[in-house]
């Protein structure tokens, strides 16, 4: 008889060879989880090599899923359950598994040869080295082959269904129905009945194995999480970002133009938008990063919403054109899906070390609004906001995401697009100067300049990188004019602060003395750590910044309310430096640069130490 244990959250990691279908298994399990009403957060981890040699640590692909009966914010630091399809998967992931965690392993793959390939002198499944874990090792391959034997597949094809056998077993363990997956298989393999039937049989057999074997003493149940009513879907950061840009263009009444050059981890935005051309989206795969942003700026000049997406190395190449966009005062959204740098760095690993590049990485006084997304689903709102500011203020905007957000996924309450604010491009259609002249650098109350697109009669004008005379936009080397224009461009961007919500600390009791300030994808780890700290009867306040330039107008005042300000970042303290410089506040950097999200457990423990220190002062 199997017990049912109720848990509030579980982290499962599926790990196997690149070809073992771990991403598919993980995403199917995620869907069952969503349907069961749990909150969830996921993070895939692919090898950088496209097809690393089979059975090697370099070739291990994994998918981590965190699900819970409460509002969770991260895919979890450490898995409670590791599904390891081969010795390499065990080798690569065992270090992350919590002590006492569960390992489900396919013993068929633990051959002497495979063990030797990853440096195991003896079989860890039997040599006692995993005694501090619950190990469930069984012949997953053999059982799968037996389950699909009568369907007439060759051995190779039969073995390929073992990920679905594992999925069936996990569905049993976590008390999930398998119907959704069976429907998915029927749809996906409609044209290939043999494969459909084999995978279907594998799912059912895996589920039945859980029911009949005595290997597993416990099943687990996680109650649904309380979430606001609405219609939800699962969404990754890159997809949400693409949709947010589309929504921004649609609410501006502008076509969307994406110029991009393939780069990890931003390419999926190019892929996603290239598949939505029936929604007024033009995509241009350029010859290089410079052409990608150049064409986007050209499209904006011609009256579209120009966008370019890239990662750090591409940002460096685009900076001259972003400077031109500052001078031209045209809308442009530049998306930087950050990755670990410098240089090529670790392209598939995350970091948020491009903040200072985004804020300051241009020659001359070239102010650019900078916005950061906080979670995968938040990429939608952040992208919409970037488009709104770009179009409303006729300015380039840098939108920061990162590899952790790009590939991670979570539930998203689908917004009603009609309720999003409409965005006014404010096209100039008639002369605005004396004697019927057109002044392209005349400004509205927000200091946005007049935007006349080619084809508008009577408003012909020239723009360019040379300094503009205030109002007329003619070339000017006048010293006083240059000073005026530098200050006007700065004032325009600074003025956006009056158009964004004030900073608000989350301080449930109002008694916290320590404030944690974050930006970007540290949102999840900070929120999760704060939750832990508060459960441990300590007070902490958190504040997350969407707008990095300009900063919210009341930020300095909020920071000064606290005795101690801690700034966790996946860089060496870039926001901390900005806060110190801007507000003369003793903001302290909490810095981790491992290519991984900040560990919730580690940060929560460190935060408790900081809070305890502060309370004793």
């Amino acid at each position: 008889m199997t017990d049912i244990t109720t848990l509030d959250h579980v982290v499962i990691r599926f790990a196997g060879d690149s070809g073992d279908g771990m991403q598919l298994t993980g995403s199917r399990f995620t869907h069952e989880t969503a349907v069961a009403g749990n909150d969830f957060s996921t993070l895939p981890n692919f090898p950088a090599e496209i097809r690393a040699p089979a059975g090697t640590v370099a070739g291990v692909s994994s998918f981590q899923l965190h699900f819970a009966n409460f509002d969770i914010r991260t895919p979890g630091d450490a898995p409670d359950v590791l599904v390891a399809m081969n010795p390499a998967a065990l080798r690569a992931n065992i270090g992350d598994l919590v002590r006492g965690g569960t390992i489900i392993a396919d013993s068929a793959d633990f051959t002497a040869r495979n063990l030797a390939k990853v440096g195991y002198a003896s079989d860890p499944l039997t040599d006692g080295s995993l005694d501090s874990y619950h190990v469930h090792a069984f012949d997953l391959t053999g059982q799968t082959i037996a389950a699909v034997a009568e369907l007439g597949l060759g051995r190779k094809d039969a073995v390929r269904t073992r990920n679905f056998y594992a999925l069936g077993l996990l569905n049993w363990m976590y008390d999930r129905p398998v119907e959704g997956t069976l429907e998915f298989l029927a749809h996906k393999f409609a044209g290939n009945p043999a494969v459909r039937d084999a995978n279907t049989a594998a799912v059912k057999a895996g589920y039945a194995f859980g029911e009949t074997t005595e290997l597993f003493a416990t099943r687990y149940r996680i109650a649904p999480a309380p979430v606001p009513p609405g219609t939800y879907r699962q969404i990754s950061g890159n997809r949400a970002l693409g949709y947010g840009l589309m929504a921004g263009a649609a609410r501006s009444g502008l076509p969307l133009f994406l110029g991009a050059y393939p780069i990890t981890p931003a390419s999926d935005v190019l892929h996603i938008l290239s598949n939505t051309k029936q929604h007024g989206v033009t995509t241009f795969q350029a010859e290089d990063e410079i052409a990608a942003v150049g064409a986007a700026l050209g499209a904006s000049f011609a009256g579209q919403l120009g966008v370019t997406v890239t990662s750090g190395p591409g940002m460096a190449l685009k900076s001259e054109t972003i400077g031109l966009a500052v001078m031209l005062e045209l809308p442009l959204v530049v998306v930087d899906v950050q990755r670990a740098g410098p240089s090529t760095g670790m392209p598939t690993k995350t970091e948020q070390a491009d903040l200072t590049q985004a804020l300051f990485g241009r020659h001359g006084e070239a102010p650019v609004p900078v916005i950061a997304a906080a979670s995968p689903a938040d990429c939608f709102d952040a992208a919409f906001e970037a488009a709104r500011i770009a179009v409303t203020y006729r300015t380039p905007v840098i939108l920061l995401s990162d590899g952790y957000l790009a590939n991670g996924a979570e539930p998203w309450q689908i917004p009603d697009l009609a309720t999003l604010p409409s965005i006014d491009p404010g096209f100039a259609t008639s002369p605005n100067g004396p004697d019927g002249s057109f002044l392209p650098y005349a400004r509205d109350e927000k200091l946005a300049r007049a935007w006349a697109v080619p084809g508008t009669p009577g408003l012909q004008h020239r723009v360019g990188g040379l300094e503009k005379a205030d109002g007329t936009g003619a070339i000017s080397y006048d010293p006083a004019n240059h000073e005026r224009m530098v200050r006007l461009r700065a004032a325009k961007v600074a003025g956006i602060a009056s158009d964004v919500p004030p900073a608000e600390a989350d301080d449930p009791t109002g008694a916290a003395r320590v404030l944690v300030v974050g930006w970007g994808s540290t949102y999840g780890p900070i929120a999760a750590a704060a939750r832990r700290v508060r459960l441990n009867s300590r007070e902490v306040a958190t504040l997350h910044l969407r707008h990095l330039n300009p900063l919210p107008s009341n930020l300095g005042e909020v920071l000064r309310r606290y005795d101690r300000v801690v700034v966790p970042e996946m860089n060496l303290g870039q926001l901390a430096m900005v806060l110190r410089a801007t507000y003369l506040v003793d903001a302290q950097s909490y810095s981790r640069v491992r290519g991984l999200p900040i560990s919730v457990a580690e940060f929560a423990a460190d935060l408790e130490t900081i809070i305890d220190e502060e309370s004793q002062r």
């Binding site: 029936q278 150049g294 064409a295 000049f301």
Partner: protein, 351 residues
């Protein structure tokens, strides 16, 4: 519903026509022209302002994009829409403009340093894709704005401030480069030959797809007389006219023939017979012959060079192909509803 009348020449097919005839003055901006006295750019600007009204299109539907360099000041002097952009990047920016709008005549103004050195990559890709833009490449074989360094078209051994012992770079032949980049329209002309310049530029803007026109342009300050070898009746200027034998020299006494070794060479027409003089065919799909003709250009001091249209072939233009894949519901509410369907997707759950 009214139909916009179409301009002659497929390159301008989607560009609306001017309601009333325009004049040179309509294409002259209020900006004072500030090139050096004697600069070849004046002649090209004047020719351009003379030919634009003849095209019959609305001037507000003309866009000129330039890079950086002396010639790249060009847009400021023409009363159209214009952008003086970044060194080398004009073809990339113009690509975005041409893709965004089919109703614009898009010109790119560039120089030998701008197009062939810092911007070489964008130039070859714009030509390869066949974006509907017309590139005027002002080739004076020198960096003028930065005061006289050798350029990617300077002859080897060029004595300049940055090459006091003589430059060791081998130069590009822009026409050969463009042909190698699969350009569908490639031509060469000379700043001082106004009628030829007008004819070639008019043909170039009327071509649908990417057109590259190399303009030999004199820099009186840093490279004066670079093209003097092509002046006078005895010059080695070889005019190319589609369908005509390629003849040049005094009274057309010389012609281009294919020699016994298979290569093209000049020969006295009297000696070889007119029937053996190569007849120019700009519309050949194979660019090989055009490339061979481009190689008749001197690489050192230029004493001999073909001018005219080397190649003019039909090939779908990139921006037309790209636009054909894009659509959108014309009604904003409908567009939003369709987008709502997309973002909702097939796999949802309701709480």
């Amino acid at each position: 519903m009214t139909t916009t009348p179409l301009a002659p020449g497929a390159g301008l097919t989607r560009v609306p026509l001017a309601v009333t005839p325009l004049t040179r003055k309509d294409f002259t901006s209020d900006q004072e022209v500030r090139w050096c006295p004697g600069c070849g750019d004046y002649a090209v600007l004047a020719t351009f302002q003379g030919l634009m009204p003849q095209l019959g299109i609305k001037k507000e539907n003309t866009v000129i994009v330039s890079g950086i360099g002396c010639s790249s000041r060009f847009p400021y002097y023409v009363d159209s829409y214009g952008m003086h952009s970044i060194h080398g990047r004009a073809p990339a920016i113009a690509t975005g403009i041409a893709m965004a709008r089919e109703d614009l005549a898009v010109w790119v103004v560039t120089g030998d340093g701008d197009a062939l050195s810092i911007g070489g990559n964008h130039l070859i890709h714009a030509l390869r894709r066949n974006v509907n833009i017309t590139v005027m490449l002002f080739n004076n074989r020198i960096y003028g704005l930065t005061k006289g360094q050798y350029s990617p078209t300077s002859e080897q051994g060029k004595l300049t401030k940055s090459s006091p012992a003589g430059s060791v770079d081998s130069p590009f032949n822009p026409v050969s480069l463009a042909l190698g980049a699969e350009a569908s329209f490639v031509a060469r002309t000379v700043d001082s030959h106004r009628a030829h310049l007008t004819e070639v530029l008019t043909a170039a803007i009327s071509h649908r797809g990417a057109a590259l026109v190399e303009i030999y342009q004199n820099c009186p300050i840093f490279n004066d007389g670079a093209f003097d070898g092509l002046k006078g009746p005895d010059s080695g200027l070889i005019p190319l006219r589609h369908g005509e034998p390629i003849r040049f020299g005094p009274d057309g006494g010389l012609g281009i023939v294919r020699g016994a070794d298979g290569s093209l060479r000049p020969a006295a027409v009297d000696e070889v017979g007119l029937e053996n003089v190569l007849v120019h065919d700009a519309h050949r799909d194979d660019p090989g012959l055009a490339f061979e003709l481009s190689r008749l250009t001197d690489t050192g001091t230029i004493l001999s060079a073909p001018i005219g249209i080397f190649r003019d072939v039909e090939r779908p233009s990139y921006d037309d192909l790209a636009r054909a894949q894009v659509s959108v519901a014309p009604d904003p509410a409908r567009r939003l509803a369709e987008l709502q369907g997309l973002i909702t997707g097939p796999d949802t759950w309701t709480v």
